[in-house]
Structures are given as C-alpha cells and as structure tokens.
C-alpha cells in the first residue's frame, strides 16, 4: 500500500496553468504591438521562445532535472516573451538570442532553476544587453516607419545595413531630448503637441500597447494570478513622483498619465514586479517593493 497524505483534494492549479495564464494576459499587448509595427514582433517572440526552450532543455539535462516536468511548466516561455517585448522590436536576432540565453542559463539555472532566481531573468537579460550593446538596445523604430515585413526581417536577420533613419528614440527619449534642446524655452505641452511622435496620452501608438498590457494585467488580477498590491503600488510610485514634479513645474515635467502609459510602466507593473519568485510574497512586502520599484523606474527614466 502506498503511503498517502492528506489533503486528498487539490485545487486545479499548477505552475504550468499559472504560466499559461500569464502568456494569455500578454496577448492584448502583443496584439497592439503587431497592429503598431507589424508581425515582426511575432518573429522576435518566436526566436526568443525557441532559444529559451533549447537553453532550458540543455540546462535541465546538464543539471539532471526531470525534463518533461520542467520544460512543460511554461516559465521559460514567459521569460522569452518578456524579453521579446522589452527589447527593441527591430533588434538583430542574435541580440534576442544572447539575451535569452543569458536569462535562462545564468540568471535562472545557475541560480538553482525555477523558484530560486533572485532576479527576474528577463530583466537581467535586458540589463546585460543594455550595458553590452547600448546602441542596439536604444534603436527604437519611429511609429511612422512604414517598412514592410521584408525590410523589417532584413534588419532583424542582419542582411540590410542598420540605417540611422530606421532607428529613432522612444517617446520618453524624444520628450527628454526636445526639452534639452529647447534650453528651457520648450515646454512639455509644446513638445507633446507634436502629433507625429505623441498621441492622446503618451507615445503615439505605444500608448495602445501599454493599454493592452493594462488589460491583460487586470485580467490576471481578476483571475487572482496576481494580487493588486505590487502593480498598484508600482504605478502609484511612478504617478506620485511624476505628479509631484509635474505640479511643481508643469512646463518641464510630463504629467503622471504620460508616464504611466510610456515605456515599460504597464509591462513592468503587471508582468515584472508581480514575478512571484523575484518579488515579495506578503501583501505588505509587495506594497513596499512595488512602490520602491516605481520610484526607481521614474528616477532611471528621468536621469541621464
């Protein structure tokens, strides 16, 4: 007779189900991304996924862990998708692969694998690549770049020269640069009026990607995969600091809403600071962690 232990019932939950729901929650943002820039982002996501799964399989094999159990848990795919979404969409394929390999091999498995990594592997990949390849990591295509999928793929796979015209700046950078060049004469209102770069709230088009992440994040909250604490305190951290500076000098500082819908705010709020492994576990801890991360995010994007 097998020795069995109570409870004999369990909720229909598993790590795989959690990870799958995170992937589903990324779909609205991904869809907005495709609408904004075309299917190239799907190519990048696929490259990252394949690299992540291969790296995961090799590491599991090397570390003699059960391959089927861990490869199927979906955590590597989540890391891959986050890398693909966080990196510039026209980054060369090898940059995505390097980032993904570093995330899976070093940031995840060398620290002990699933559940043991002190830092979010996707963010480690981002940090490593932005330090190692700063120019490639800051080449963001302008939204009015009407390049066909062929041209985009040529850029990704490196058989077209990386023209400067093909790479622009993020809306955040655009605002910062404009304010700097204006030497005090340019105001935020005037800069944001530029309909080519900016939309209703934040960066043109990008604000919709952010809205997609928000939608997915709210769904995750509704499914109780994430609690409200970390995302809300993260967004509150950004909004409070942005709001205080904006009230202090609206000419030089963008409003909080602009910041909430720019850059990685929404992706970070619902998909990064909520990472259970590298984040906090208790509600109070999540509040503190999220808020501090929000403050830090604002400081990093404002400082140069």
């Amino acid at each position: 007779m097998n020795f069995t232990t109570p409870p004999y019932l369990s909720q229909n939950v598993s790590v795989r189900r959690v990870m799958l729901q995170v992937l589903v929650a990324l779909l609205p943002g991904l869809a907005a991304y495709v609408w904004l820039l075309g299917p190239v982002i799907l190519v990048q996501t696929t490259i990252a996924t394949i690299a992540a799964l291969l790296a995961e399989a090799c590491m599991l094999k090397l570390l003699k862990k059960p391959l089927g159990l861990f490869l199927g848990d979906g955590s590597a795919i989540v890391t891959a998708w986050l890398i693909a979404l966080a990196f510039p969409p026209l980054a060369p394929w090898w940059l995505i692969v390097v980032g993904t390999l570093f995330a899976i091999v070093v940031a995840k498995h060398l620290y002990g694998g699933l559940g043991q990594n002190p830092f979010n592997p996707a963010m480690i990949a981002f940090a490593v690549c932005i330090v190692s390849f700063p120019s490639l990591m800051s080449q963001w295509p302008p939204v009015d770049l009407h390049a066909g999928i062929g041209e985009q793929l040529a850029l990704v796979f490196g058989y077209a020269p990386r023209l400067d015209a093909m790479s622009g700046a993020t809306p955040l950078d655009a605002l910062k640069t404009a304010l700097k060049l204006g030497e005090g004469s340019a105001t935020v209102t005037a800069v944001l009026a530029d309909a080519q770069t900016f939309g209703r709230i934040a960066g043109k088009g990008w604000e919709w990607v952010a809205a997609g992440y928000l939608l997915g994040g709210l769904w995750l909250w509704h499914r109780r995969i994430v609690s409200w604490h970390a995302p809300m305190s993260f967004l509150a951290g950004i909004a409070l600091l942005a709001g205080a500076l904006w009230l202090f000098n609206p000419a030089q500082f963008a409003n909080p809403l602009f910041h909430l819908f720019s850059g990685g705010s929404m992706l970070g709020a619902f998909f990064i600071v909520t990472d259970p492994v590298s984040g906090c576990t208790t509600p109070k801890g999540k509040l503190i962690f999220g808020f501090a991360a929000g403050i830090l995010a604002y400081l990093i994007r404002s400082a140069h």
């Binding site: 020795f3 109570p6 369990s10 043991q116 576990t281």
Partner: protein, 565 residues
C-alpha cells in the same frame, strides 16, 4: 436575535459533495461477526483493560478503565465473549498495532444494568466523573476527553459556550443528520455543558449549507425552552475548526499558547453533546457513533455503527464500486487512508470515504516553490506557510517556531491551493515532531545532567564527611590512649562495642535506604503503555522469588560471618 458574525481570513471552498449521503435517514448497522475495540480511543492515558480472554461481557460493560484524569473509559459495544485482549491494527495511518479487546457478539445485545440520572441532583465533580466513565470524548474527530473541558478556568469568567455543528469537511454529513434527527437530545446535552460551565451565552454554529439542520436545532431549542442562539455561518472550509468557529461567532482569536477557557470560551461538537445527554439521562456509555459512508459507493448513507466494527463490515453497508482504490477515514482534507480492512470504527471515525483514481487523482509531482504566496492567502490562521516550508526544508526548526508553526492546525488549505503541489502539511508535521522529539531529548539530557551534578555533590560531601570523621576518630584515639593503658577490661570492651555500633548503624542505614527506595517511585515508570506495564509486572513476578532467595542468602552469610567472629 441578530448575531454579529466575524470573519476568519483565508480558507478554501472545495466541492462539498455532501448531497449523496443525506438522502436517507441514519440507518442502524447490523451486528458484525467480530468487534475489535481499541482501548486507546481518546487523547490522554491508555485505559487499562478490565477483561481477559474468555470473559463474558454485557453491552455497556466497562472494558477499559480510564488511566488518569485525562483519559476516558471504553465499553463493550454489545454482549458477547471476549476472544482476546491483544494488539490489533489501529485505525491510524501508520497501521501500527494497538491493544484491543476482541469481542464475539452473542447476538442477544444484552445490556448491563444502567440507570438514568438526574444530573441536577449531582455534584458537578460527579457529573464530570460520570462523563469520563461513560467514555464521552470529542466526537468531531479530536477525541479529547470532554469531562476535562468542562471545568471553567478559575481566573477568567466563561463568556461563550460554542457548539460546533459546522461540519466543514467535504463529503461528511454525520453531524448534519444527527442534528436533523436528534436535535432535542443535542440541545439537552448542551444544557448539561451549560450548567457545568455557566457561560453567559451559548452559540450553536452551523454552516449555512445545512438549512435543515439549522431549522431542526432551532426547533429543538424552542421546544426545550432554552435561550441558545443557533447561527448559520458562511460555508467555507475550515469554518468547523474550533478556533475558526470561535473566531466567527465570538471574534476571539485563540493562540496556540493558550487554551480557549483562558479566553472565556469553550467549544464542543454537537455529537459530543448528544452522547453526554445519553450518558447522563439514560446511563448509556458511548458504544456507537454516526458514521458517514460515502464517496465511490453504491449506497452513500449515514449509519449508527458500533465502535469496534471492522472497516470491511462498514463497507458492506455502502458497497464500494469496483474502481475503488482506497478508503479514507475522516474528510478528504484532514483524513487519512485506512491501513487495513480490519481496522475498526473508533470514536474518531466520523466518515469513511471510498476513493477512486477519478475522485482523488494522484498528486502531481512536487515542483519547486515559486513563492506565489497562495498558501499564505489560504491559511485560516494567517500564517506564512511558504516561510515555514523553507525553514522546515532547511531543518531550521527554531525559525519555524518563530513563524508560529504550532498555530498550524494542519487543515490542508495551503496544500490544497499550492500550484507547485508541495505537500506543505507533511513538512509542518515533520517539523513539529522533530521539535517535540528534540525537546524530549533535551529534557532527558537536562535530567541526566542534574543527576550527575547531584551525584558529584554527594560524593564530595561524603568524602569531606569521611575525612572529618577520620580526623575526629584520630583525635579521639590520641585522647583515649591514656584511659586505655589504665585498665585491662576497657581494651577488650571498647572495640567490641564499636563494632556492634558500626553494624547497627549500617543496618539502620540499609533500612533507611530500603524505605526510601520504596517510598520513591522511579520516574521512568510514569506514563507507560499498557504493554510496558504488563512486561514490568511479569519481570517483577519473575524476580520476586529470586530476591527472596537473595535476602535469605544475605542473612545467612551475615550470620555465618558473625559466627566466624
């Protein structure tokens, strides 16, 4: 009457699965061919067997005597012949044997003489004794002797008597049916508890998924003319945990370090109140209990089953389906797998669930903890199971205690929600038992150290005393030298007298030592099991003649020595 309800945090909502077993009324199980009645059916001391193989017992005859105050009597569930008093497989996950009285029923079901009592005419102390001698224990599953819970704390006034009819475990419906069918006797039993504890309020908590039970108890309370509050509490596992129900009904939180009477609350199960009433008002000890037989069976139902009925006879009532692969005793959240079909129904057996692969699928392989915190959200005691899990894994037991591992009631909510399928409760049980055994070891080491130090001290003291005596004797000798030379007879007398005095002193010392030995019971014979005591008795019996020989031998040698002198 409006009653403000409080909430406990956490909890889970598993599929209740209670409907199948409440369709039929409580049935009376037929007499089995053999009853195996374990003597140890409650928390506390192991009752001493009062019968031996070959004895005839009447129904209700006491066969196990309570060992001490926290212990409870055990009775013959029917009349018949005792076949053996021996170790039989226990209704315990370990399946280890336990001393049991095996009775072959004679089919006459003949009662021993028993008389109803008017408990109002009795001293409270006497009522508690009767409850102990009637084998009344907590029938919710904890089987704590009830009489020991019926003395109010001296320092704290008793505010609330909480009666637990919540029955939050899935599948289980024995209390539901008991409340529906025997509400009046439950209420009268609660009356006994009330009169012993004198609380300000009596609160009966029933989960709101049992509206019929709520109505039945309300009607019974009205009929008996009591002022008990019958309260439907929200259905959420583990609302029926004593601490959770106390929290919901009174708002009080009972920490692990305290017992509820110290907080002015006491809690009893409805079935316990029922048996208390039967014991007092009918003179009937606890011989049977209501057991839910459900799960993967053709005929799910509640049965009144004699204690000691082997599982196989219980299953004959329910008829398990062919794909049944295990039998659980208790609910699916906190119960355990029965070790054998021979294991008997005991006072703790509230439910027997036949399980199949489909009903209780095998647990998925354990994955690493991803620190999602779902366990902490589900914990009804607001503990942090994930922290306790890491420290248990690391065998850092001090830390687990800092995280209040002893507040854990092992309800299984954390394991239930864990996406990594970590058997958290098992980790906590492991830690708790490790901590207990380490404490035991430490206590034993401390005692040994104390003994060693005491002995050293005594040796030192004796050495010093001896030295002092010798010095004194030497001094005496030098002073005695003069009288010694003075007269002849003195020299002959003194040594003889000294020798006799010495012998007398030695004899007196030996006698004192013997008396001391007899007066002081060696510590290691406290709290032994029945089997161990039996063994000791046998050894003593073997020794007695030898010891007698030894004493005569000693006496002879002494006298012969004396003669030689």
């Amino acid at each position: 009457m409006l009653q403000q309800l409080f909430k406990f945090k956490g909890g889970v909502k598993p599929d209740p699965n209670k409907t199948p077993s409440v369709q039929a009324p409580i049935g009376t199980a037929p007499l089995p061919a053999l009853l195996i009645v374990p003597l140890h059916q409650s928390i506390g001391g192991v009752p001493n067997p009062l019968v031996k193989a070959g004895d005839y017992v009447f129904k209700g005859q006491r066969i196990g005597d309570p060992d001490k105050w926290i212990s409870s009597a055990v009775h013959a569930p029917t009349s018949g012949t005792v076949l053996a008093v021996e170790e039989r497989v226990a209704s315990h996950p370990s399946g280890l044997p336990t001393l049991s009285v095996v009775i072959e029923p004679d089919g006459r079901d003949e009662w021993i003489e028993h008389t109803p009592l008017d408990y109002n005419a009795l001293e409270p102390e006497r009522v508690r004794e009767i409850l102990r001698d009637s084998g009344v224990v907590g029938l919710g599953g904890a089987v704590f002797p009830s009489h020991a819970k019926l003395a109010p704390a001296k320092a704290v006034p008793m505010d609330d008597l909480v009666i637990n009819g919540a029955e939050c475990e899935p599948f289980m419906t024995c209390d539901d049916l008991l409340m529906r069918e025997r509400g009046e006797e439950i209420v009268r039993g609660i009356g006994i508890f009330r009169d012993l504890l004198k609380p300000k309020r009596v609160l009966i908590g029933i989960e709101d998924n049992k509206p019929q039970a709520v109505d039945a108890i309300k009607a019974a309370v009205e009929k008996v003319g009591e002022n008990f509050s019958v309260i439907a509490v929200p259905t959420r596992y583990p609302a029926g945990g004593a601490k959770q129900l106390i929290r919901v009904l009174t708002g009080k939180e009972v920490p692990a370090s305290k017992r509820s009477p110290e907080m002015g609350v006491q809690c009893f199960n409805v079935a316990t109140a029922y048996t208390a009433w039967r014991a007092i008002a009918h003179g009937e000890p606890v011989l049977s209990r209501i057991v839910t037989v459900t799960g993967n069976v053709e005929r799910p139902r509640n049965w009144e089953i004699l204690l000691g009925t082997p599982l196989k006879d219980v299953l004959a009532l329910g008829q398990p389906k062919p794909d049944t692969n295990r039998y659980l005793m208790g609910g699916p959240m906190m119960g355990f797998e029965m070790p054998s079909l021979e294991a008997p129904i005991v006072k703790a057996s509230n439910c027997i669930i036949a399980g199949s692969m489909a009903m209780f699928p095998p647990v998925a392989p354990e994955m690493p903890c991803i620190r999602c915190g779902a366990c902490a959200e589900a914990c009804p005691h607001e503990l942090q199971p994930f922290e306790m899990y890491w420290f248990s894994r690391a065998k850092n037991f001090g830390k687990t205690q800092e995280y209040n591992i002893f507040d854990c009631i092992e309800c299984g909510c954390c394991s239930y929600v864990c996406p990594s399928h970590i058997p958290l409760v098992q980790y906590f049980r492991f830690s708790k038992s490790e901590i207990w055994s380490r404490e035991r070891e430490k206590n034993m080491a401390d005692a040994a150290k104390a003994r060693f130090e005491l002995r050293n001290e005594r040796d030192e003291r004796e050495k010093a005393e001896k030295a002092a005596r010798l010095a004194k004797a030497a001094a005496a000798k030098t002073t005695e030298k003069k009288p010694e030379s003075a007269g002849e007879p003195a020299t002959a007398d003194v040594p003889v007298d000294a020798d006799a005095a010495k012998k007398a002193a030695i004899a007196a010392a030996m006698e004192r030592a013997r008396q001391q030995r007899e007066a002081i019971q060696p510590k290691n014979t406290d709290g032994l099991t029945v089997a161990q005591r039996k063994e000791i008795a046998e050894i003593e019996a073997r020794r007695a003649p030898l010891q007698a020989q030894q004493t005569t031998f000693n006496a002879e040698t002494q006298s012969s020595q004396r003669e030689e002198q």
